[in-house]
C-alpha cells in the first residue's frame, strides 16, 4: 500500500479502515479506502457497445455529479471514482475483470454487465467477495431466481417484462395468433418460452415457433413461410436483437408481410436499432421498454443533459445505469457507509422515483427492481417531429404488473 502526501493521522485512519474493510463488524469504519468506487463492466467494443458501452460510463459519471451537487459537503462519500472495463460479452473475461475491479481497483459496486452468462459469472464473484453488483444490461430472470444472492440486484428490465408487456398487450389488442422466431441461444430460448406463456395467458395461441441460426443474415425462409402457416398468424414475434433484428426487419419489409396481414412485434428493441433501420421500416411495430427519453418532462430534462454531453439521445439502458449508480450512492448516503451489508440493507425495500424509474421498489425477497414499464409503438417517419423521437408510448404498464408478481421460490438470498 502506497501512501502519498497524506498527513500522519489521516494516513493511520486510512490504514485502519483499509484493514477493516470486508471484515465482520467493521468497527464503525465509514467509507472503505476513503473513497467510493463505481465500476461499469460492459461490452465496449462488440455488439452491445452502442446500446450501452461507454455511453453508460458517461451516464454513471452524470449520476456522480448529480449526487455531489445535491449533497455537497454533507456527502458521506467525499471522494467518488468511476472505473470502466470491457467484458466483450464473454463470461470468462467478465469473471476475471470483476475480480480485478473488486480487488485491485477497490470497486465497491459493479454496474451494467449485459449478456446473461457474463452477468451470472459476476454475480458469483459478488457473492464470494461480498460486494454489491447491480445488473442493468442482462435479461435473464434467473438473476433473481436460481442465480440470485444477497449482493446482486437486477435493475431495469428482464425477459418477463419484455415478453409480458408485448405478448400480453398485443394479444389483448386483437392479434390472437402468433408465429415466433427466436435466435437459438439462451436469451432467444428464454424469450420464446416466456412469450408463448404470455400469449397463451392472454387468450392467444402460438401457431409455430422456429429457432433461427445466430448470427444470421438471411431470414427469407421463415418470412416466406409465415403467411402460408395454418392458421395464418396475425403477428410475427421476433426475438432477434441488434444486427440480426435489422436483417430480419429489412427482409420483412422486402416480402411485404405487413401487406399480407402479418404484423410485427419485437421482443427487444433498442432506440439505436430504430435509428439504424429508419422509423419507416418499423412503423407500427409494438414493443415494451423500461424507459423512453421523451416520456415526460423529467426524462426529457435528463436526456437533454445527456445529449449535451455525448451528442446523442440515451437508450433506456444508459438511463438505467444512471439510476442504478445514483440509487447506490443514495444508499451509501443514507447508511453513512459503503460497507456492502449496510448498503444492501439500505437498498432492500427502498421506494423511490428518479429520472429513470417510476413507482419503483427494490423487492427485498429477490432484489428485483419493480417499476413502471411502457408499451411503445414506432411512429411512421412523417410523424417524427425531432431527431430520435421515434416512439409513441401507448400505455404505462404499472410496476405491479410489469414484473413477476411473486419472487421465484428458487431464490434464496
Amino acid at each position: 500500500m502506497r501512501i502519498v502526501g497524506w498527513t500522519g493521522g489521516l494516513a493511520a485512519t486510512a490504514l485502519l479502515l483499509a484493514g477493516c474493510a470486508g471484515g465482520p463488524g467493521g468497527g464503525g469504519g465509514k467509507i472503505s479506502d476513503g473513497k467510493v468506487v463505481l465500476a461499469v463492466l460492459n461490452d465496449q467494443s462488440g455488439v452491445y457497445a452502442d446500446t450501452s458501452g461507454r455511453s453508460s460510463v458517461e451516464a454513471v459519471k452524470m449520476a456522480v455529479a448529480d449526487f455531489q451537487a445535491k449533497y455537497g459537503d454533507k456527502a458521506a462519500a467525499k471522494k467518488i471514482e468511476v472505473k470502466a472495463a470491457d467484458h466483450q460479452n464473454k463470461p470468462e473475461i467478465a469473471n476475471s475483470k470483476a475480480q480485478q475491479l473488486y480487488d485491485r481497483q477497490k470497486a465497491d459496486v459493479i454496474l451494467d454487465v449485459p449478456t446473461s452468462s457474463a452477468a451470472f459469472a459476476v454475480a458469483t464473484i459478488a457473492k464470494n467477495k461480498k460486494k454489491v453488483f447491480i445488473d442493468v444490461g442482462a435479461a435473464s430472470t434467473e438473476l433473481e431466481g436460481k442465480q440470485c444472492n444477497k449482493y446482486t440486484f437486477h435493475y431495469g428490465y428482464n425477459s418477463y417484462m419484455l415478453a409480458h408487456g408485448t405478448g400480453t398487450e398485443v394479444t389483448k389488442a386483437g392479434a390472437k395468433s402468433w408465429y415466433i422466431v427466436y435466435p437459438d441461444y439462451a436469451f432467444g430460448q428464454d424469450m420464446q418460452k416466456t412469450f408463448t406463456a404470455a400469449v397463451q395467458a392472454a387468450g392467444g395461441s402460438v401457431v409455430k415457433s422456429d429457432p433461427t441460426p445466430f448470427p444470421n443474415d438471411n431470414f427469407s425462409t421463415f418470412l416466406l413461410k409465415a403467411p402460408g402457416l395454418k392458421p395464418k398468424p396475425q403477428v410475427l414475434g421476433t426475438m432477434q436483437a441488434g444486427g440480426d433484428l435489422v436483417n430480419l426487419v429489412k427482409q420483412y419489409n422486402e416480402y411485404k408481410l405487413r401487406g399480407k396481414g402479418v404484423g410485427l412485434a419485437v421482443g427487444l428493441l433498442v432506440l439505436s436499432d430504430i435509428h439504424s433501420l429508419g422509423p419507416d421500416a418499423l412503423a407500427g411495430t409494438r414493443y415494451t421498454d423500461m424507459w423512453y427519453w421523451n416520456l415526460d418532462a423529467k426524462s426529457r430534462a435528463w436526456a437533454d443533459k445527456f445529449q449535451a454531453k455525448t451528442g446523442k439521445r440515451p437508450t433506456s439502458n444508459m438511463a438505467g445505469n444512471y439510476s442504478a449508480a445514483l440509487q447506490y450512492l443514495e444508499a451509501v448516503q443514507r447508511g453513512g457507509t459503503d460497507k456492502s451489508d449496510d448498503v444492501v440493507k439500505q437498498l432492500e425495500g427502498y421506494k423511490f422515483e428518479d429520472a429513470f424509474a417510476r413507482n419503483a421498489t427494490i423487492r427485498p425477497q429477490d432484489h428485483l427492481l419493480l417499476h413502471d414499464a411502457y408499451l411503445a409503438q414506432v411512429k411512421p417517419a412523417g410523424e417524427v417531429k425531432e431527431p430520435w423521437d421515434y416512439v409513441r408510448v401507448l400505455k404505462t404498464i404499472p410496476a405491479a404488473e410489469a414484473f413477476q408478481a411473486a419472487p421465484d421460490a428458487a431464490c434464496k438470498l
Binding site: 467494443s45 462488440g46 455488439v47 452491445y48 457497445a49 452502442d50 437459438d184 422456429d210 429457432p211 433461427t212 441460426p213 445466430f214 448470427p215 444470421n216 443474415d217 438471411n218 427469407s220 425462409t221 421463415f222 416466406l224 413461410k225 441488434g242 444486427g243 440480426d244 435489422v246 436483417n247 429489412k250 427482409q251 422486402e254 416480402y255 411485404k256 439505436s272 436499432d273 435509428h275 439504424s276 433501420l277 429508419g278 421500416a281
Partner: protein, 287 residues
C-alpha cells in the same frame, strides 16, 4: 417449396459471388484470403458512405465502389501480399486474418457496431410475378445480376486469352511458367478482381441486409465451406456450390430449423468424405 428453393438461390448468389472471388485468388496466388469478408463489408459500407456523404445513389455505387476497392486490393497485393507469397503460406494466412480484424475495427471505430441505414432503390421496390409466385423485385434483381456476373467471369475464363492464362496458371503454375507465360503479370489484376467481386456482393447486400462492421465476418465462414465443397481453386465449383449451399440452407431452415446452422458443414463433411478434393476440385492441385 419451389418458392423456398428460389429464395435459396438468392441467398446462394452472395455465396457464389464471394466464393468466386476467393477461388480465383486462391487459384492464382495460392493465398487463402481471410480478409475477403471484410471487403464484402467495405463494399456495403462504400455504398452507404457514397449515399450518406456524397449523395451517390445505389446504381452509381454498384458501378463505382467495386473498382475502387479492387484498386485498393491491387495496392495491397503490391505492397504486402506479393512479399509474403514466397514464404510459408501461413504468413499470408496470418496477414489477411489480421487485416480483416483491422479493417473491421477501423469501421467500428468510425461508425460503431450498430447497423447503418440503407434503403433499396425505388426502381426495385415492387414485386414481380414469376408465374408460380410473386417475388420482391430487388431479390430477383440480385439473382439475375449475380448469375450474369458469374456467367461473364466464366466466359472470360474460357473464351479469352487472358482467361486461358489464368486457368492454366491456376491449375499448373509451374508448367505454365515453363511454357514462357509471364504468370506474375496477371497475379495482381486477378487479386484486385477477386476483391472487386467481394465489394460488388457487398453493394448488392446493402439494401437487404444489416450494414455493420461484422456482416462480413459472420458470412465468410459459410463461404469458406462453399469453396471447400466446390473444390479449392475451382472457379466453376465455387459458383455451383454457392448456389447449391444457398438452396440447401433455405430448405434446411424450412424443414429442420434447429439444424440449419450446422447443415452446411454436414454437407461439407459428406462431400469431403466422398470426394476429398471437393466436387470439382482436382487432387493434383494439392501436390
Amino acid at each position: 417449396m419451389l418458392q423456398q428453393a428460389f429464395n435459396g438461390l438468392v441467398g446462394g448468389a452472395f455465396y457464389a459471388l464471394l466464393a468466386l472471388g476467393l477461388a480465383v485468388i486462391f487459384g492464382m496466388l495460392g493465398v487463402v484470403n481471410l480478409a475477403h469478408g471484410a471487403f464484402y463489408m467495405l463494399g456495403a459500407f462504400g455504398a452507404f458512405i457514397a449515399l450518406d456523404s456524397f449523395g451517390l445513389n445505389f446504381w452509381l455505387s454498384l458501378v463505382l465502389v467495386p473498382p475502387l476497392l479492387g484498386l485498393a486490393g491491387i495496392v495491397l497485393e503490391r505492397l504486402f501480399i506479393r512479399r509474403l507469397t514466397p514464404l510459408d503460406p501461413l504468413y499470408n494466412f496470418l496477414f489477411t486474418f489480421g487485416l480483416a480484424l483491422i479493417l473491421q475495427d477501423l469501421v467500428k471505430r468510425e461508425y460503431g457496431v450498430n447497423s447503418q441505414p440503407y434503403t433499396r432503390p425505388s426502381e426495385l421496390d415492387g414485386t414481380v410475378d414469376l408465374g408460380l409466385f410473386t417475388y420482391p423485385t430487388y431479390q430477383v434483381f440480385v439473382l439475375v445480376v449475380s448469375a450474369l456476373v458469374c456467367v461473364a467471369v466464366w466466359l472470360v475464363l474460357t473464351r479469352t486469352r487472358v482467361g486461358m492464362i489464368v486457368r492454366a496458371a491456376t491449375e499448373r503454375p509451374e508448367l505454365t511458367r515453363a511454357l514462357g507465360v509471364d504468370v506474375g503479370r496477371w497475379v495482381t489484376p486477378v487479386f484486385g478482381f477477386g476483391i472487386a467481386l467481394a465489394a460488388f456482393a457487398g453493394v448488392l447486400a446493402a439494401p437487404m441486409r444489416a450494414v455493420n462492421p461484422l456482416m462480413g465476418a459472420d458470412l465468410i465462414i459459410t463461404v469458406f465451406a462453399v469453396v471447400v465443397i466446390g473444390g479449392l481453386g475451382s472457379v466453376f465449383g465455387a459458383v455451383v456450390a454457392g448456389f447449391a449451399v444457398g438452396v440447401v440452407s433455405a430448405l434446411g431452415n424450412l424443414y429442420v430449423p434447429a439444424l440449419s446452422q450446422t447443415l452446411v458443414f454436414i454437407l461439407m463433411a459428406v462431400v469431403l468424405l466422398w470426394r476429398p478434393a471437393g466436387l470439382f476440385g482436382r487432387e493434383e492441385t494439392f501436390r
